[in-house]
């Protein structure tokens, strides 16, 4: 009965063919655990993850780019060493550990931010533009920003330092540009390298983090994946992984196109 209902009596290849055919028409099947369509579960989770990652992307990318550029301009000075130190901490602290520590400090001890969940009345009514809802985003965003801040800061720093060593910077000075104008040239030259790393990080963040979303019980794709793995909910797993892979590949394609737009030498 069950075997027949889910098509498990057919050969694997045929099962896969059927699944693929349905996916192409937008039908990802039904969740075994909830009985609801996978698309419905998946896109709700995806929307929640995007909300979280968008915050982390904005926070991490802008902060990392600024402090990375700053350090690249002062390689070898104490401020550079401080920034490099932050970057090393960023990539070496496990983010699930930081999540727990943040919860202990801000939720348990200080009691200023909520520990878990998505909004005071659940995810259905969540509105990130209201402060008492937004509060729920803060700790997860900080946690998720940690690794991208470390990686992007390091890349930006080395890219900027490398560009500053190039001859044309001397030409820019010699023709009388002010430092701010020179900075624009330097940043545009460093951008392709930084974009490549940002693209990868963007892809990772959009995929959601199983650990972080589970700790904060944030109903995103990571949380959904975790649940699907524990309940062996194969249709949900398959659908989620497929969509995340598509997002990752698309992101990298977009980044490649952006790079050619910034650096004309890459066109051909």
């Amino acid at each position: 009965m069950v075997k027949k209902a889910y098509g498990f009596d057919k050969p694997i290849a045929v099962q896969y063919g059927i699944w693929l055919g349905k996916v192409l028409t937008g039908d990802f099947g039904m969740s075994i655990a909830t009985g609801r369509p996978v698309t419905e579960e998946l896109f709700r989770a995806l929307a929640n993850t995007v909300m979280l990652s968008a915050g982390a992307v904005i926070a991490a990318f802008s902060l990392a780019f600024v402090i990375g550029t700053f350090a690249g301009y002062r390689v070898g000075t104490p401020s550079d060493r401080a920034v490099t130190g932050i970057a090393v901490i960023g990539v070496s602290i496990p983010n699930y550990w930081l999540a727990i520590v943040l919860v202990i400090i801000f939720a348990v001890e200080l009691n200023v931010l909520p520990a878990t969940g998505m909004g005071p009345r659940g995810s259905e009514t969540f509105n990130p533009f209201q402060w008492d809802h937004f509060k729920y985003l803060i700790l997860p965003i900080i946690t998720l920003s940690l690794i991208p801040i470390g990686i992007i800061t390091r890349t930006t720093r080395s890219a900027v330092a490398e560009v500053l060593n190039q001859d044309f910077v001397e030409t820019l000075r010699a023709k009388g540009l002010m430092e701010a104008e020179i900075l624009l040239h330097v940043v545009k030259n460093a951008l392709p390298q930084v974009l490549a790393v940002m693209g990868l990080q963007f892809g990772y963040l959009m995929g959601g983090s199983i650990l972080v979303e589970t700790i904060f019980t944030w109903p995103g794709t990571g949380f959904l994946l975790n649940k699907a793995i524990l309940t062996r909910d194969l249709p949900v797993l398959q659908g989620t992984i497929l969509i995340l892979a598509i997002i990752f590949v698309t992101t990298n394609l977009v980044i490649d196109l952006l790079q050619t737009a910034v650096d004309p030498r890459l066109k051909r």
């Binding site: 190039q166 001859d167 044309f168 001397e170 030409t171 820019l172 000075r173 010699a174 023709k175 009388g176 540009l177 002010m178 104008e181 040239h185 545009k188 030259n189 910034v262 650096d263 004309p264 030498r265």
Partner: protein
């Protein structure tokens, strides 16, 4: 040529540049003094490491401020270059004085079009709009004889050949009608045929625009082509100056003599070239005496102990050597008996 009462375009007095690092202090430029009149071309000749490029960069204040210690007096058109700050310095660079670099491959920003790079300079110095800057850029590319200039305006540096890139560099340098053009071996990285074209172009533009120019080179042929006056540098010091005629046909300093006899000229097949023995001194530890002393065929113990003074050989004609005799009032050096 020029009257003495006129202030010179460039006046450098006792310029010293030291690069200080934890390991050592490099004395790149030592007590250099030179003068360039309006509309005059001074060629600085010297081998690599003789301090010619560093002197140029000191004049443009392009040396890294944290590591380079500059002392002396640098004046361009009456302005004290070392005292310039912020906006004044930016207005001076590219406005009063412009510079052309050796490597046209790397001296232009690869991610902006040639037109953009010229236009932003024009906008910076004249305060015009970017579109007006682009129009001026087109004019300039035509001035430096870039073929199909309109198309080249939107070209990126990597799409141009070395010669065209250097022409674009010249256009950039000339964009705000500088009074002084500093050229740091602008033809060294170019093919021989392109080299002579660029040289002729620069000479022509210099004369048309009436600019003063300091042209750095290690190539005596280039110097003969373009210079009015020549200064020969060795180990951070000027060892001989004079008009191009005087220095190249009647060199006084042993180094200049050695350099001239080590070049290929006429029919020299089968003959050995007379190279100067030894190599230039380490700028971290200059000898106490004449820095050319250890390599000089005429040196005696006196030369190795004491720094020779600058000997006036006539009007604007100097050599830093014990072995030359100061000219008496009559400026014709050499024919006067001791």
């Amino acid at each position: 040529m020029t009257t003495e009462t006129k202030t010179p375009l460039v006046s450098v007095r006792d310029l010293n540049v030291k690069f200080v690092s934890r390991e050592a202090t490099v004395n790149a430029v030592n007590d250099v003094s030179l003068t360039v009149q309006h509309g005059e071309v001074l060629c600085i000749i010297g081998e690599s490491g003789s301090g010619k490029s560093v002197s140029m960069r000191a004049l443009m204040r392009l040396l890294p401020e944290r590591r380079a210690v500059i002392s002396g007096k640098l004046a361009v058109d009456g302005q004290d270059v070392l005292a310039l700050k912020g906006k004044e310095l930016a207005a001076f660079r590219g406005g009063e004085a412009a510079m052309i670099f050796q490597e046209p491959m790397t001296a232009l920003d690869p991610v902006y079009t040639v037109g953009h790079q010229i236009a932003e300079t024009v906008r910076r110095h004249t305060g015009c709009s970017f579109e007006e800057g682009l129009a001026r850029a087109l004019e300039l590319l035509e001035l430096v004889k870039v073929p199909s200039a309109k198309r080249r305006l939107n070209a990126f540096p990597h799409e141009l050949s070395g010669g065209l890139r250097q022409r674009a560099m010249i256009a950039l340098a000339l964009s705000c009608r500088p009074k002084l053009l500093l050229a740091d071996e602008p033809t060294t990285a170019l093919d021989a045929t392109v080299q002579i074209q660029v040289l002729i172009l620069m000479r022509k533009l210099q004369q048309e625009l009436g600019m003063g120019m300091i042209f750095v080179t290690h190539d005596l042929g280039v110097a003969a082509e373009i210079a009015d006056r020549v200064a020969v540098m060795y180990a951070g010091r000027i060892v001989e100056t004079g008009t191009v005629q005087e220095v190249l046909t009647d060199p006084k300093h042993p180094y200049t003599k050695g350099m001239l006899s080590s070049t290929v000229h006429g029919n020299m097949r089968g003959q050995d070239i007379e190279a100067i023995p030894g190599s230039p001194p380490d700028l971290r530890a200059l000898p106490t005496g004449c820095s050319f002393g250890p390599r000089c065929a005429f040196a005696d113990s006196h030369c190795l102990e004491q720094l020779p003074p600058e000997v006036m050989l006539g009007n604007d004609r100097l050599a830093r050597c014990f072995k030359v005799d100061a000219a008496p009032a009559a400026a014709d050096a050499g024919s006067v008996p001791a």
